[in-house]
Amino acid sequence: AQRVTQPEKLLSVFKGAPVELKCNYSYSGSPELFWYVQYSRQRLQLLLRHISRESIKGFTADLNKGETSFHLKKPFAQEEDSAMYYCALSGRFGAGTRLTVKP
């Protein structure tokens, strides 16, 4: 069965600090993984897809099949990064992590 686990409901860092949002998945096939973000009063939107291996707004995410993880990272957090972040395995979503970046 497909499962996505985001172990941290809340994460708080100071501006300029590195941030890592954890995501672990369970899937027997070849996974298709995404990170979505929801800023305050905005709709859920796609942030990253693993197949693109891209950097969006300074965020990157690497698929580690051995550890079945797809952690989201940013070296220097900004206040505007404060939002809800959801990891998704195809159409299945984790519970989300609320990131707060303090000034």
Binding site: K9, L44, Q45, A95
Partner: protein, 113 residues
Amino acid sequence: DAGVTQSPTHLIKTRGQHVTLRCSPISGHKSVSWYQQVLGQGPQFIFQYYEKEERGRGNFPDRFSARQFPNYSSELNVNALLLGDSALYLCASRNPGRSYEQYFGPGTRLTVT
């Protein structure tokens, strides 16, 4: 393109009633999925439709049903509403030829009293 649109924005219903929620996908997107998002939780998958056929169903009771129309818009119906059905209902569309990346509507906030 206005993106994925949903109607209504908000809805208040009484236990036992039924409700119909509507979704229009992005132009060219033939697949629509429905999600339920309860406060503090991630979106829970309810249904996926592609080319007017159900292609996936989540762990929801038969009170939940959906359909997709020839123009690819979709309706989600919920019968015999319970207090626990109060949630934000999200619609997402995608182009199946381009991975599983989805584009979400603003949601319909359903309150059951």
